[in-house]
Symmetry: C2
Subunit: 221 residues, 2 copies
DNA sequence: ACAGGGGTGTTACCTCGGGTAACATCGGCA
DNA sequence: TGCCGATGTTACCCGAGGTAACACCCCTGT
């Protein structure tokens, strides 16, 4: 009787295991142990390893699952036929709404850790790198940047992703304002308000760089 | 003959231990084990723990040591009496030059990992948070942002830091261009070039959002 | 009816890394 | 002389990732 549409039989258990892992991560944050996840699923570790290979595999599967929604949403927002400024705000709001919906799981996205001894440091987790690529493509397709377009687009893709990541993380942690205002602040930054704003009449601007221990060498030694 | 100016006697050993730790991290990247560091220093683990409490303490000490230079440099750059655009470029270049000088150690800055079960996720490591604060202060002091200045300044501080972090990390990894061009690309972004650039004549812009598996739900479920 | 094979499950174990307790030593100093 | 503090050691604990070997259950083909 069970629908023949569901692909493989084992896929169901895999989903259930991911559900359990999801619950644990929601409760304990990333860094939940394999034992804890196995216990939540009512089973023991080796089964997890059979399904996902290693911890990274589990985390990756879990992440991709959640990322799919966010990535799809961002992609869709990027493709909307809006005025550019509106488009930027739309994408920002989409992203913030996404991470707001599931804070705990969102932490997963940002955790490359899992110590890769390769030395190649990725400040952006793979999930976020996909978003960076989407932004890159969108910029390259919609903005005239002259001859250096590929280079600039990719730089901006990474830069914007990192910017929203850091800002969003802070916002999620502190909740200093509404989502709408956050979107405004970020869009304003991206929109050149830093360039356009008036100079402040450097009133009582004490040189904050002086009152500091001078014993540390400069950046080059 | 040893100068009586050096504060406590134990400080020397601490420095030596940090030097050893530094060497190991340079060689093996972050995630180097305490055993390895102890071996490099020619001693055993408990001594490290006596000096630094735990691994985080060691890493923090190591990081602060290197951060001091970068932070001082950035602070100094932020305080220079330049035209605003030049100032932005100056700061960007200072940061990129700093991370370029010591890639391995720089990875340390970006690794908050060390699993804190507190759940408070910090996309920015403490070292970077200091830079974010510097930028916040500078923006607040030098740019007229109206009534919401505190909020916007802090948002921008985090945002810019995250932006430069992600872009710098990518640049360090791929080396797609010279430092100067990277500075230009980032400064342009910060300078509103995204807003100012001409619209591309959406020539052959296929809707890239369509050709994708539609099975994943949107961001809200 | 019986032999398999794939999926599910278990216990018990290994390894490695962070972290600690307890003990030994050396140098100065009242 | 006896105390104290810093330096050092060996040996251990614990938790977490990861694996080997064994057991069961059910479905299917001969």
């Amino acid at each position: 009787m069970s629908g023949p549409a569901t692909p493989a039989v084992g896929e169901l258990r895999r989903e259930q295991l991911l559900n359990a892992a999801d619950r644990v991560v929601q409760r304990e944050g990333p860094g939940a142990s394999m034992n804890a996840i196995a216990a939540e699923a009512g089973i023991t570790k080796p089964i997890l390893y059979r399904h996902f290979g290693d911890r990274n595999g589990l985390i990756r599967a879990l992440t991709e699952r959640h990322t799919a929604g966010l990535l799809t949403a961002v992609r869709a927002a990027l493709a909307e036929p809006l005025e550019r400024r509106d488009l930027v705000e739309r994408v920002l709001d989409t992203y913030l709404a996404g991470i707001e919906a599931r804070p705990q799981v969102y932490r997963l996205l940002t955790h490359p850790e899992a110590g890769d001894p390769t030395g190649a440091g990725n400040a952006l987790a793979p999930a976020l790198r996909q978003i960076a690529e989407e932004i890159t493509k969108a910029v390259q397709a919609q903005v005239d940047l002259g001859a250096d377009s590929p280079l600039i687009s990719e730089t901006w893709g990474r830069a914007i992703t990192g910017m929203v990541l850091a800002a969003g993380d802070w916002w999620l942690d502190q909740r200093p304002c509404s989502r709408a205002r956050m979107v405004q602040a970020l869009a304003d930054l991206l929109w050149g308000r830093l360039a356009a704003a008036a100079e402040l009449p450097l009133a009582i601007t004490p040189p904050s760089a002086a009152e500091h221990e001078p014993d540390s060498p400069l950046v080059q030694d």
